[in-house]
């Protein structure tokens, strides 16, 4: 069984985001790029499954759609333990293009489980995983908080409103993972970093799928009004303000 983990390359979450060109483009100066936190967790889970011989997981690959400048992030995934990587060489303009490109990687390979994160921390799309599944005409399961392989069968726990469900789907399938899939992201050890240097990154040409949408401008969030402080000895006054001023209770 082979697993493909789709990784997106995002600004570190503590980055102060700024825009240039009259608020139409992200200012990438000084940005520290990292593997999207969800993807780091799904990679961790994929490697855990591979470590357990009883699951029959043989290969864990990663795929990224982006320009050559993203290779350090891909190398990091290889250093954490992925066996090989694919990069579709393009600057995607929207999630539709990303998914179309990932579909090419999946079609050319032999993958039983394809994992995506629930959202990228940059454009907060929550789109790519389900789009990819539709491009491939495969089943998808969203909001996965646990993934197990038992006796050759997949057991998937997904979150539903007010609870969880254990479901099964035939493979190949696209799994969209969220909190719970792995506890802590695995980090690269020195040996992994050395080995990553010689692992292959296959560069795939971009398919011709046009973008359906375009980002035209950005705006910073509205500054919030300054905080109104209430004397702790008179804390009850807060409730009165919430009732009569903010009118929310």
């Amino acid at each position: 069984m082979n697993i493909l983990v789709c990784i997106s390359n995002v600004p570190d979450t503590t980055t102060k985001v700024k825009f240039t060109d009259n608020h139409t483009r992200l200012d990438t100066a000084g940005i520290q790029w990292v593997i999207n936190p969800w993807d780091e967790l799904s990679l961790t889970r994929a490697l855990e499954l591979k470590d357990d011989a009883s699951t029959g997981v043989k290969q864990v690959s990663v795929a990224h759609v982006g320009p050559a400048s993203a290779e350090p992030t891909i190398r990091k995934a290889l250093a954490i333990g992925a066996d090989s990587a694919y990069r579709v060489n393009m600057e995607p303009a929207d999630s539709y293009q990303v998914a179309a490109a990932l579909a090419e990687v999946v079609k050319a390979g032999q993958f039983d489980i394809i994992l995506c994160g629930i959202e990228s921390s940059d454009y907060n799309g929550s789109n790519v995983g389900s789009m990819l599944a539709e491009f491939l005409d495969l089943p998808s399961v969203s909001a996965i908080s646990n993934l197990k392989v038992e006796g050759g069968h997949l057991s998937i726990t997904r979150e539903i409103d007010g609870g969880k469900e254990v479901v099964t789907v035939p493979s190949p399938f696209v799994g969209i993972v969220q909190k719970g899939i792995a506890k802590e992201p695995r980090i690269a050890a020195m040996r992994g970093i050395m080995m990553a240097r010689s692992k292959p990154i296959t560069v795939v040409e971009a398919p011709d799928a046009e973008a359906l949408s375009s980002f035209v401008a950005y705006e910073p969030p509205q500054p919030r009004a300054a905080c109104k402080f209430i004397d702790p000895d008179n804390a009850g006054q807060l409730i009165e303000l919430l009732q009569n001023e903010a009118k929310v209770i």
Binding site: N127, S214, P221, A235, L242
Partner: protein, 323 residues
Amino acid sequence: MSVIIYAENWDGKFKKLTFELASYGAKVAEMLGTSLVAVSIGKVEESELKELGKYGVQKVVATDHELLRPLDSKAYTSLIAQVAQKEDAKVIVMASNNAGKSIAPRLSVKMKAALGSGVNKLPLSTEPFVVSKKVFSGNAFAHLSLNTEVKIITLMQNSFDLVAKPVEPEIEQFSVKLDAADVKTQVKEVQKHDGKMLLTDAEIVISGGRGMKSAENWQPILELAELLNAATACSRPVSDEGWRPHEEHTGQTGKIIAPNLYFAIGISGATQHLAGVSSSKYIVAINSDKSAPIFEAAQYGIVGDAMKVLPKLVEAVKEIKTK
């Protein structure tokens, strides 16, 4: 021509969220000079379907099939696409929740229709069709132009007020042909925490952080939540420590919520935490450290020891409740 909303139901009932979608859809239909249709999937009584008419839904296309009881994103997508074609939909609106996030992207590919996900207000313009959405986990908003004839929107919860617009909706039963091979998702087991106010439904959320010190100290938070009919939440370290269950964790790697009122108690206000709660209408911060970043995001603040402040709040709420 039409605007379509996907009216999800929970055990046969709609929620405020469904009516937010209807109100939003009615407004978009007005902007485009067209009518509003709702699609309902599952077992919903006619009287409940009619409720949608209160918020401007002119027609309800209802379908039910035993095979569609568990959410199977592929089967749902194909069904909504059929209705969209039949009704000549120009815009399809869904909630930005579990179901919407698993259906809308598939529908986008199936119909080759541009998708704006996590939209937070009405379209900024219709020619070109530009929507506003949260990006960088709340640190900015983007204007996204949807460049195809059919557009799909998923709307953030609590970002559009209900607008009453009573009409008598036409109800159409739509039958689907499905066989077991079309539905791939099989549910083996369901665990529900019944009777608990859902974090994603609550108008008021009381959340505690590491400053609460231990699980035993949660009592006044639970009491306050009970009194205010609120849900409880927590920061990530709190769920990691096991002081509170995982499904309460809010933030970038937890739940993203937008209640009317969010109490952050003993929470420092890290960007990753704020990413999940910054869309709340009001944030109240209670923290012993005056320089905690949470006060920059809050409208009301108390600098003090949560253990001393919470009992006073409980008393004050009891007082207004008895008035």
